[in-house]
């Protein structure tokens, strides 16, 4: 077996090893079987073509064909027999589209979806082709690391924080194997290898000389591992991960134990690249409000924090809000909901609708904190839980809320929930907003209404914050943020107005998948504000603009209508409509809007999909246009150069021919110009010759060149005269005392170009027009010269570094 073929095999095996990180993405191992099959086919094709000594392009072509065939066999559309047909290709396109959808709808690890498997096999196959060509044909195995790294980048992109390390080690081993195989092959070309004592060294045995290299490698790795350990700021590395106990895939397990930052968890989920389905809820309530699992009620300099919930076990029963004095005044309806949580939502607080009365099916001991209205467990998590619960949906009428008496100032609840760190901006804003408002509800509505588009607020997920109090205050001036800023800012402002408030965490409605069934993903994580009204309990206010929140239920509440929507007329009031003085919102209309909103979930999604395909088409068109434009650059450059030269050679003024034998040695401006013109014309002629594939010989004089041109292209008449004229002009410009002046060089150039074009084949003509070889040649030579110069400079630097010897400095100082 020749070295080249062996290298091809190693390249294929190394690529398969490098594909190991994909194991973190797929649930099963189907992909690897398919990849191995495809890679084997491709490498077989490569070896066959190499055996018959086919040229490089034929090797690449055969490998591509093998890839297409393998894909056809692995993912048949059902209409083809072995050979792919147009149907197959459209099937492939469908698969790619399906893969795109799957990446949006599935979290890692994904099941064996055809689309995803297709993309994986296609990717690995393409990488094998590139790696094989780079290694076995171009002998640049180091470059082959790039496509192999591309495979590794896929799990890195999917997993935000933790990437399995073992597959990377496997992939890196494959790459190193490739490098070693290539170097061994290189050394073997010199002949057999020997040890120092004359023993023959086997092919795969490392060279004895490599011992020093190994020692250096070991020391380097040790240093690389030990040094970061000593630096405290370096975190998130392999060791940190290994030492962390509760790390797991999904990155959303942070809500597990101890005091955690709910805000950080929220922004983490919203900013995650992948969409991970978390839970599914079915309810008989027509317009459910948000699912809720935690609150943050302690506002300090560090922002909102929460206390660990404390309460009674579920088994002891849940309170009924209708009977409690604190919540009696609201209007309650009983509903029933069923929740199914996937394994990706792993936390010890169970999402429920507010005021659950009966909870069934929760595995393990769970407890309910009445104050926080949070269902929690100290040991069990929600992972894979499925439970049903009955709950009371509270409806508040603005009129009644308005009549709610403010809490007395010495009430412990008021004292606990109106504490703020104090901020001049916030206080001033609140004071301005609530001036003239008497009731708590009016104050709260004034603050709530202030978070509107009209006041410059907008939704932006890119606002990164740590949730610190100062940043919440800052939000009031920069006015760009997402739910966490809106909820925290409003809670703070309501507190500043003397009304108890806190931040609630949960999920929006998500996207409706069936009647009463909603699917909720990590993207639906949400936060909103709860305000306490005496006799009503905690009333939710969602100040976040509904535009940025999928499944927002902002419009569903007539006590807190969507301030960004045009207020509908209050005439058509339906069931519960009690148009209060401040509420112009019509519940029916609000419900209608809300339905549109909820139904709009999937609609909006399909809208995004079509929009995306439109965009894709546009991108492709733009890409094609860009490629075309790039391809046209040489032609454009050629035209510009010709234009410049023509401008140089166009006769400026009619001048007489210089007298022959003139002995005047002074070079006048005109003669200098004439000389430049002749050179420009000659350069143009030479470039034209290169363009039209007429050989250019640097040993020829202008005279001989033109003679050959006339003879070879059998020019006659005007083109021949033009060639002679150009030759004479250049000859005199180079060698005579006085150049030829006033000659019609531009016209001559045109004539000779047309003559050359007439003598050339159609293909040559097309190439000369579209991809002028002269421009390409000059670019190639320029690039070659630049790289040579760079290489020389680098060599110089390396040599000076090699010569640098610290010992010499020591001895000098001594």
């Amino acid at each position: 077996m020749t070295g080249r073929r062996r290298l091809g095999l190693v390249a294929a095996a190394a690529t398969l090893l490098a594909a190991a990180p994909l194991s973190a993405i797929f649930e099963s191992w189907t992909w690897i079987a398919q990849c191995v099959l495809t890679v084997a086919l491709i490498e077989g094709a490569a070896m066959a073509t190499r055996t018959f000594r086919f040229p490089t392009w034929a090797q690449a072509l055969s490998m591509t064909l093998a890839l297409v065939l393998a894909l056809t066999w692995l993912f048949p559309s059902g209409k083809e027999i072995i050979i792919p047909t147009p149907d197959t290709l459209s099937h492939f396109a469908d698969l790619v589209r399906q893969a795109g959808e799957d990446t949006r709808s599935y979290g890692v690890p994904v099941p064996d979806r055809d689309g995803l498997l297709f993309v994986a096999v296609l990717g690995v196959g393409s990488v094998v082709i590139v790696v094989d060509l780079l290694t076995a044909v171009f002998r640049r195995p180091a470059l082959a690391g790039l496509p192999m790294l591309a495979i590794y980048s896929i799990p890195v992109a999917v997993y935000l924080d933790s990437v399995p390390a073992i597959p990377f080690v496997i992939g890196a081993a494959g790459f190193l194997w490739l490098l070693v195989a290539d170097n061994v092959d290189r050394v073997r070309r010199f002949g057999r290898r020997f040890t120092g004592d004359g023993r023959d060294v086997d092919v795969w045995e490392p060279s004895p000389l490599a011992a020093a290299g190994r020692r250096i490698g070991v020391v380097g790795v040790l240093v690389a591992v030990v040094v970061p350990l000593g630096v405290p700021t370096v975190t998130g590395g392999l060791l940190t991960q290994l030492t962390q106990s509760n790390s797991g895939p999904g990155g959303n397990s942070g809500t597990g134990t101890g005091r955690i930052n709910l805000f950080a968890s929220l922004s983490g989920q919203l900013n995650q690249n992948a969409t991970v389905p978390l839970l599914k809820v079915t309810t008989d309530e027509p317009e459910p409000f948000y699912l809720r699992f935690a609150i943050a009620d302690v506002l300090t300099e560090n922002g909102f924090g929460h206390e660990a919930p404390r309460g009674r076990a579920l088994a002891l029963g849940l309170p009924d809000p209708r009977r409690a004095a604190a919540t009696r005044n609201a209007d309650y309806t009983e509903y029933r909901a069923e929740l199914e949580i996937t394994k990706d939502l792993q936390q010890n607080m169970a999402p429920v609708y507010t005021y659950p009365t009966v909870v069934d099916g929760l595995e393990g001991p769970w407890a309910y904190d009445e104050k926080q209205q949070v269902l929690y467990s100290n040991r069990f998590t929600t992972r894979d839980q499925k439970y049903t619960f009955t709950y009371m949906r509270a409806k508040y009428s603005p009129r009644l809320l308005q009549q709610a008496a403010p809490l007395p100032a010495d009430d412990p609840l008021r004292a606990a929930y109106t504490a703020t760190p104090g901020d001049a901006t916030v206080d001033a804003t609140v004071k301005r907003l609530i001036t003239g408002k008497s009731s708590d509800y009016d104050k709260v509505r004034a603050i709530y209404n202030w978070f509107s588009k009209d006041n410059g607020f907008r939704y932006s997920l890119s606002a990164t914050t740590t949730g610190k109090a100062s940043e919440i205050a800052e939000f009031l001036t920069n006015k760009a943020g997402y739910c966490q800023q809106y909820a925290a800012a409003m809670a703070w402002m309501v507190r500043a107005a003397g009304v108890p408030a806190r931040v609630a965490f949960g999920f929006t409605r998500g996207s409706q998948t069936g009647p009463g069934t909603y699917s909720i993903t990590n993207r639906n994580a949400h936060a909103w504000t709860e305000v306490y009204f005496q006799g009503f309990g905690w009333v939710p206010f969602d100040a976040t603009p509904s535009t940025g929140v999928t499944g927002s239920a902002r419009g569903a509440s007539n006590w807190a209508p969507d301030v960004d929507r045009p207020a509908p007329t209050a005439s058509a009031s339906a069931d519960t409509g009690e148009p209060g003085p401040d509420s112009s919102a019509d519940p029916g209309a609000a419900n209608g809007e809300n339905r549109a909103n909820a139904d709009g979930g999937p609609d909006a999604d399909t809208g995004t999909v079509t929009e995306q395909t439109d965009w894709t088409a546009l991108w492709i068109a733009a890409g094609v246009a860009l490629i075309l434009a790039l391809l046209l650059i040489p032609a454009l450059r050629r035209v510009l150069v010709r234009k410049r030269r023509h401008a140089a050679t166009a006769p400026a003024a009619p001048t007489v021919l210089a007298a022959e034998g003139a002995t005047d040695l002074t070079v006048t401006a005109e003669s200098g110009q004439a000389r430049e013109d002749a050179h420009a014309a000659w350069d143009e002629l030479i470039d034209s010759m290169i363009d039209f594939r007429v050989p250019v010989d640097p040993t020829e004089t202008p005279r001989i060149t033109t003679q050959r041109l006339i003879r070879d292209l059998s020019l006659d008449g005007e083109p021949a005269d033009a060639a002679t004229l150009l030759g004479t002009a250049e000859e005199r410009a180079r060698y005579a005392r006085t150049p030829l002046q006033g000659a019609e060089l531009t016209a001559a150039l045109r004539r000779i170009r047309s003559g050359m074009s007439a003598a050339a084949s159609a293909r040559t003509r097309l190439r000369a027009a579209l991809l002028p070889p002269s421009v390409l040649l000059s670019w190639r030579l320029g690039l070659a010269e630049w790289s040579t110069r760079t290489a020389e400079r680098l060599t110089g630097i390396r040599e000076s570094l090699t010569r640098f010897n610290p010992r010499r400095l020591l001895s000098r100082s001594r």
């Binding site: 022959e660 034998g661 003139a662 002995t663 070079v667 000389r675 430049e676 050179h679 350069d683 030479i686 290169i690 250019v696 640097p698 040993t699 020829e700 004089t701 005279r703 001989i704 000859e731 005199r732 410009a733 180079r734 060698y735 005579a736 005392r737 150049p739 002269s774 040649l777 000059s778 030579l781 320029g782 070659a784 010269e785 040579t788």
Partner: protein, 344 residues
């Protein structure tokens, strides 16, 4: 045919005058040597370049006839030396003879004291005699018994030799060969020229009918005019590059001398003037490289074993060597950047 005016004041000729005079001489010679205008032109160019000519070819192709026709066309002193093995150096340079009347040694000038010296079968003389020509050819003077005698201007040695016959000949030493500006071969005439020769030479020798069409003064003015021909820097560099290439070529043991560079440019100037140009072209150098350089170089024994003639080696160098500052599309030098040094 223009007859130059006698006693005209010397000075450079105009282009037209130069051409007329040169054409007259060439036409005159071509009455005798048919179909060899390139050789005749080269011979005249060597004369105008103040050089010496070595005509080397097989017997009977008109070597001596060319030399004699050139001599006859110019009205100046002509001497002919038949080089024989017993020829002595003093026969060439001259000898001091004791004059009994004046009771003193008197210098009897040898054969070289003429404007044109035709040396026939130069390789038949002994090296000793051949060496007698060294001083006069290069320095245009003769030193006998400590006295130096200037030779007349113009002074040209036209020597012939037979490369085939080796028996009883002494090959010219390198120093001697280097003094010849150019070596030309006559070559066989084509059939038509040979036919014309038969009809022309049938009854009488046309050489006898030749009349001089120029004189020594005219030749001096021709020489002066040719000297003024412009050789651009690029051309001079090309000449140097050509000569340097012969020194560096792996097939050559001894390359061309700096003198050959000078003579190459001079001859090129003469050729350019003959073609009516006042500037030298690299084409001239390319055309002259073989006649001017080939006889001076010594190929390595390998090249000799491979039967590589010096002519072939030199012409290969010509075809291999790029022109100075010519835009080479296969080189990394940018064409535009080299213009500053191109041209004059």
């Amino acid at each position: 045919m223009t007859t130059p005016t006698w006693g005209e004041p010397s000075g450079p000729l105009t282009s037209a005058e130069f051409r007329a005079a040169a054409q007259a001489i060439m036409a005159n010679i071509e009455q005798v040597i048919e179909g060899k205008s390139a050789t005749v032109r080269l011979a005249l160019a060597v004369l105008i370049a103040e050089g010496h000519l070595l005509i080397e070819d097989v017997p009977g192709v008109g070597k001596t006839k060319l030399a004699k026709a050139l001599a006859r066309s110019i009205d100046c002193s002509v001497r002919r030396i038949q080089f024989t093995p017993d020829l002595l150096p003093s026969d060439v340079t001259g000898v001091s003879v004791y004059n009994q009347e004046t009771r003193d040694f008197e210098f009897k000038p040898g054969a070289v004291f003429a404007n044109l010296v035709v040396g026939d079968e130069i390789n038949r003389a002994s090296p000793k005699t051949q060496s007698a020509l060294l001083e006069c050819m290069e320095e245009r003077q003769v030193t006998v018994d400590g006295t130096t005698y200037e030779l007349q201007a113009p002074f040209m040695v036209v020597a012939t030799q037979n490369p085939i016959e080796m028996e009883g000949t002494y090959p010219l030493p390198e120093a001697q060969r280097d003094r010849f500006t150019a070596r030309i071969a006559m070559g066989y005439p084509d059939p038509r020229a040979e036919l014309a020769m038969l009809s022309g030479h049938g009854d009488h020798d046309p050489l006898n009918d030749l009349r001089a069409v120029a004189d020594a003064a005219m030749v001096r003015r021709l020489i002066e005019t040719a000297r003024a021909v412009h050789a651009a820097d690029a051309v001079q560099q090309y000449a140097i590059a050509l000569v340097t290439a012969t020194r560096e070529a792996p097939e050559i043991r001894l390359g061309a001398s700096p003198r050959s560079t000078l003579q190459l440019i001079r001859t090129a100037k003469a050729v350019a003037a003959l073609e009516g140009r006042d500037y030298v072209l690299p084409d001239d150098l390319q055309a002259l490289a073989v006649p001017v350089l080939a006889h001076r170089i010594i190929p390595t024994s390998d090249a000799q074993l491979n039967r590589r003639t010096t002519d072939a080696i030199v012409s290969e160098i010509v075809h291999r060597l790029p022109l100075p500052h010519a835009r080479n599309p296969y080189d990394t030098r940018d064409g535009r950047a080299s213009y500053e040094s191109r041209g004059r």
